[in-house]
């Protein structure tokens, strides 16, 4: 995963815009992906996340879907080769899994933006040692942020790498909780 905590302001701004430039593509891809696999209806409702979660974890285990060989998400460190390509790497996920995460985090973001008036994309600014410094996150209200990528990516790593149980409805549960917490 790309870490920008030690990056310059210019690099952070560039990464922010690169991410936002690619989010519409990811939203289009997940709709196509859901349609092609008989997945749930992506109607942008919060309730739809309760079905997208199980679909995500089911497809996370699949390895037969084609992914362009040179594609990586904007939030991934381009110096770190994905797993499963015969190259030495400490990356825990394959390119296909990164693509699936990219699609789902974009959909989660879309749902949140639609249901929280005034929500906007911002660059996270925290203490010097905060690993999220420079990340693109959603500002829900004056005090609360929403970390859609961390939510989806961490859920995937917990399942794939650490073999930990993750609630299939975790996206729905977290979004409901955080939207409820927002002013």
């Amino acid at each position: 995963m790309l870490s920008l905590m030690s990056s310059s302001k210019e690099e952070i701004v560039r990464a922010h815009h690169t991410y936002l430039d690619g989010i519409n593509d990811a939203r289009g891809r997940i709709r196509e992906h859901l349609r092609a696999t008989g997945g749930p209806d992506p109607d942008d409702s919060i309730a739809s996340l309760a079905n997208v979660g199980p679909w995500f974890f089911e497809h996370l285990a699949q390895r037969d879907e084609a992914t362009p060989a040179d594609w990586i998400p904007a939030w991934w460190d381009p110096q770190l080769p994905p797993a499963g390509e015969g190259v030495e790497t400490h990356a825990p996920l394959t390119r296909q899994q990164l693509r699936l995460i990219d699609e789902v985090q974009a959909y989660v973001a879309e749902v949140v933006m639609r249901h929280v008036p005034g929500a906007q994309w911002v660059v996270y600014k925290g203490s010097k040692k905060d690993v999220r410094n420079g990340d693109t996150v959603i500002q829900l209200d004056k005090r609360q942020k929403f970390y859609r990528l961390s939510l989806v990516y961490s859920s995937a790593v917990n399942v794939v790498l650490y073999n930990k149980p993750v609630r299939p409805t975790i996206f729905y549960d977290v979004v409901r909780r955080d939207i409820g917490d927002a002013d």
Binding site: A91, Y153, V166
Partner: protein, 229 residues
């Protein structure tokens, strides 16, 4: 009163030459250490390990009797007998030594002892692929509770706490362990998915959690690694 008696008994026993009758010597130490199990300080084990007239092989035989699981784990990790005896020389007790080593999620050979914690941190960071170049802070409870990790790999969410020498389960380490448990309770939001406590041998040959911290690490399901030098 009991301590005084045991201490005096051990002092007298230590005067009996070991060379020439190793088996009898081992039996003597073995029975003494078992009798002295109730001494929290583990003075009997330490004294036996420090005895310069006892060969390392005999000390290992003794350790196999009083801390068998620890010896198996350490030998399995290719730790030399001399290093095992050195550790036992500073053990809290034979039982604690056995419990601590057998509870470790991994035993690794360190290239040397480390004089300072930051030296161990640099070593671990160099050993960890993808480690960020600096320590990181993670937080829970809306930022009210903060926790600093020495080494962190963002792509795997693996964070490391470093302890140098012996760490006590009272005070700072106990608070850190409880914070770790809270951070891992909400891993999907913070990106910290696994926390490993890494214990390094200090220059005075102490290493690992004391009994209380050992219990806390088990209670919170926090794995720990012993880097033995």
């Amino acid at each position: 009163m009991k301590l005084d008696f045991l201490s005096a008994a051990f002092s007298a026993a230590a005067l009996i030459p070991f060379v020439g009758d190793a088996a009898a010597g081992i039996k003597k130490y073995d029975s003494f250490i078992k009798a002295a199990d109730e001494i929290p300080s583990g003075a009997a084990l330490r004294s036996a390990m420090k005895d310069v007239s006892t060969p390392t092989s005999a000390k290992m035989d003794l350790l196999r009797k009083v801390s068998p699981r620890a010896v198996d784990r350490l030998k399995g990790a290719d730790i030399p007998d001399s290093a095992i005896v050195r550790l036992a020389t500073r053990a809290i007790s034979a039982k604690h030594f056995d419990d601590m080593v057998s509870a470790a999620s991994d035993i690794r050979k360190a290239p040397s002892t480390f004089r300072l914690e930051r030296d161990a941190e640099k070593f671990l960071r160099d050993q960890t692929p993808g480690a960020l170049p600096s320590q990181i802070v993670s937080s829970v409870d809306g930022g009210n509770t903060k926790r600093l990790y020495y080494v962190f790999v963002r792509s795997t969410g693996a964070a490391d706490e470093i302890k140098h020498g012996r760490a006590s389960g009272v005070g700072r380490a106990a608070i850190q362990a409880s914070k770790d448990a809270r951070i891992l309770a909400n891993p999907e939001e913070r990106g910290v998915l696994k926390i490993t406590w890494q214990f390094f041998t200090s220059a005075n040959n102490t290493i690992g959690p004391d009994q209380r911290l050992l219990e806390l690490l088990a209670e919170y399901n926090l794995p720990f690694v012993l880097w033995v030098a």
